[in-house]
Amino acid sequence: MSDVTDATTGKAAPTPDDGLRIADSNDSGPVLAADGTPLKKSLSRTLRRQKMRALLLIAPLLIFVLVTFIVPIVSMLLRSVDNTIVPDTLPQTVSVISEWDPNASDLPDEPVYEALYYDLFLASEAKEHTKLGTRLNYEQTGLSSQFRSVGRDLDEIGEDQIDALEDLAEDTWDNEAFWFDLMRGGENAENTDQDVLDRARARLRALTGDAFTGGTGFLPGAEISALLPRTAYEYASFAVFTAIAEEDVVAEEEPWESVKIALIEELQAGADVSSYNGFGAEELRAAQEMLADQPQQNFKESFLEIDEGWGNPQTWKTINVYKSPYTSGYFLNAADYQLGFDGVEARPENQQIYIKLFMRTLYMSLVITGSCILLGYPVAWILANLPLRTANVLMILVLLPFWTSLLVRTSAWKVLLQQQGVINEILVWLGFVDDANRLILMNNATGTIIAMTHILLPFMILPLYSVMKTIPPSYLRAAKSLGATNVTAFWRVYFPQSVPGIGAGSILVFILSIGYYITPEIVGGTDGVFISNRIAYHISSSLNWGLAAALGTILLVVVLVLYWCYDRIVGIDNVKLGG
């Protein structure tokens, strides 16, 4: 009993906590459980097990939601700003083009063309240059074919010098084994330059997205790599690609033209081969001597020969604007703007479609929501006020559309709405409409609104019904007994109480319709399509996924903003999906 008085001394009133303390404590230390562990620890251990069990139970759903909902949304958000294809495909070009002044009317200098040559050569070997062409074609029409043609003809650049080099000695510069030995610094090179190889791997990895791991059977010699860095790097790229992507033996494959061009350039630039004593030193000296008489390689001229487009400053301005790994270009595009050469500018008027489409989508979704309220409210009212048996039968009729395919229902509307369709025929037969002036109910906004109102109507009726079901009829009676007419009683007493149902139904219908695709596609024609149809077009036809992602992201943001506004104005607590 002394424990009891000790534990409760100084407390205003005993609490259940005190009870535990009294039961478990023999001293003034922490409260202990029956087995001697501190009570807090024991409690948290018990709770942890419960929490773990709960977590395990929801784990399948959690993972499913993460994988199928969160991850796609995040990846879509990222894709809408992702522009890594440009710096990944043209890393050297992007780094040297910053020295060029895009506002000057002249073309970039030789180093930019030189960098472009090496970037594109590797890209065309890896067949990645056409993807970049497609990407840049969104910004400037014609770049796709320009990249395609340059990829075809890159081999021809510097043909004369290469021929001269190969003619210099037999079995040397056209011999793959000689190249292999030269670049690894002889058979038993002591010093190797792993770094060049790693850079080549990293570059290819960024370019293709493949891992490029595994052995190459080739290690660059440190001395030759120091003497001829560009050649070594190009050869390393060749070696990595040949060994890993093409699964060939490096020593048995003739190096790419880009390797030879790099060698010629570096020898002409005066690489100090006289002090070099490694494998092929003699041949290098001979080559340097011979090449001194050869003309310098002019990449700018060669590119202009292949395609005049490379002489167009626009091309270079476009590349310059889109050189960074992230871009606001897709979002600007989605808002009918573009990244001009002098900053953000509006698109030409005949290309402005997205704002109009967004506005139309919002407007038509509002109209659809409104007509769903107008049509659904009386139905829900009747359902809620009928005896349960009858209401259940009628409810089946409301739900019936859910049991038929959406495509079938929409196609059925096509049958009904067309100019020779059921509705027009009946109207003509009844004499309401002249045979020559049949109503155009389809392939325009009217068709979309009619069909989508029908399809989304259950989403309005169900929440309305479940809310109305909870409003006792005595409220209306009370209002009438207090002197209100039927109309006043309805508007002042019943309607305000059904607003949560209208709110829930409206949110459902509006959000569903703002992203609707199938119905506008089938009955919408051109005037009745939604933004989602444009998104689908960019996903499946134009393959401009970045723009599709930007449009989708804007749609998501618009919905979230509207939801927020709704919460501020109506209050999300005022939304009821059921009793």
């Binding site: 005595s474 409220y475 009370a478 007994s481 002197g483 109480q497």
Partner: protein, 367 residues
């Protein structure tokens, strides 16, 4: 009831019938008239037609046959909102999306009463039910008793002459209910309003009403002031329904000078007052209240018939003793005796003689 009576009364039902399905009558030939200012309770088991009567009066149900008169005018064809009858609903039906003050001003608004007038009336009505500080609250923020007061205030705020209440206290706990019974009666009498009150709680009916109409099977079984109803039930149903009651069955042996002798089925003879019996040999059910049964011979009149009873159970209830007896084959014969110092405490197994004043024992119909 004659036509003349019906038109004099403030509220009158004249041969009213009601059927929902066209096969059975829920209300059968209802005649009722109420003077102005009366507090009348419709009491009866569920399904007896009392709520239907109230709804017909309020205008939410139409009478299949007959007339309902309010102040001499037939209101059969007047829609509910033009009848000007205040009503308190079972679940209060306070509008949840309005504040208390808005709820109260609703009937005034629809009557196009000016704003300042409205506010004054709302305030007065709230003060009347001692809820003056709650005008800004929502109904959901009030307790059951408070909601009840607001519902009452709302039914009274537009000063109706007739107020209907449909089991308004059903959802309250016992203590609050008793308190509200008192308040409602006081309010009704102070304001001089005519009130029709529906309940299935007989205590409520007896304590509150000027007159009680006992409903069963779509008819008024008895319409009388509470004391008359309790002490002089006109038939078995009323006797059974109001208060606790002992019954014994038997045959009328003799009727003479306002007294009847009934021979019980086990042969015993008792004295009673013939109410629903008129002929010798008729079967009858005799009704007697537990507190009017005496087992002390000194308190009985000379020559009163007594019968034998066996004590089965003695229950001490504080203020009273409740003793269950076996009388003439009825094992549920109860007597109640006051807990006084000289009161005898009966013991189970004892055999005693019981009797009563003939006028306390009523020979009713055998149904």
């Amino acid at each position: 009831m004659t036509e003349a009576q019906a038109s004099d009364a403030f509220v009158a039902f004249d041969r009213v019938q009601k059927s929902y399905d066209g096969e059975t009558l829920v209300v059968k030939d209802l005649n009722l008239s109420m003077p102005k200012g009366e507090f009348l309770t419709m009491l009866g088991p569920s399904g007896s037609g009392k709520t239907t009567c109230l709804m017909m009066l309020a205008g939410f149900e139409t009478a299949t046959h007959g007339r309902i008169l309010l102040d001499g005018v037939s209101i059969n064809d007047i829609p509910p909102h033009k009848r000007g009858i205040g009503m308190v609903f079972q679940n209060y039906a306070l509008f949840p999306h309005m504040t208390v003050a808005e709820n109260l001003s609703f009937p005034l608004e629809v009557r196009k009463i000016g704003k300042s007038d409205r506010e004054a009336k709302v305030k007065r009505a709230l003060d009347m039910v001692q809820m003056g500080d709650f005008g800004g609250r929502r109904p959901a923020q009030l307790s059951g008793g408070q909601q009840q007061r607001i519902a009452l205030a709302r039914a009274l705020v537009f000063e109706p002459e007739l107020v209907l209440m449909d089991e308004p206290l059903g959802a309250l706990d016992k203590q609050l209910r008793e308190h509200m019974q008192f308040e409602i009666t006081n309010l009704a009498h102070d304001l001089g309003i005519t009130t029709v009150y529906v309940t299935h709680d007989q205590t409520e009916a007896l304590t509150m009403s000027d007159r009680v109409a006992v409903f069963d099977d779509g008819r008024i079984q008895q319409l009388a002031p509470p004391d008359e109803l309790y002490e002089s039930p006109q038939n078995s149903f009323v006797a059974q329904f109001i208060g606790e009651n002992n019954t014994l069955e038997g045959t009328v042996k003799e009727i003479q000078g306002g007294l009847a002798q009934v021979q019980l089925d086990d042969g015993g003879i008792i004295d009673c007052k013939p109410v629903n019996v008129s002929e010798v040999g008729e079967r009858t059910r005799v009704s007697i209240r537990p507190e009017r049964v005496e087992f002390d011979k000194k308190r009985l009149k000379e020559g009163t018939h007594t019968i034998k009873a066996e004590v089965l159970e003695f229950i001490y209830m504080g203020d009273i003793f409740r003793t269950r007896l076996s009388v003439a084959g009825n094992d549920n014969f109860v007597i109640k005796s006051r807990n006084a110092p000289d009161q005898t405490r009966l013991k189970p197994g004892e055999t005693i003689e019981i009797g009563w004043l003939p006028e306390d024992c009523r020979a009713l119909d055998a149904n």
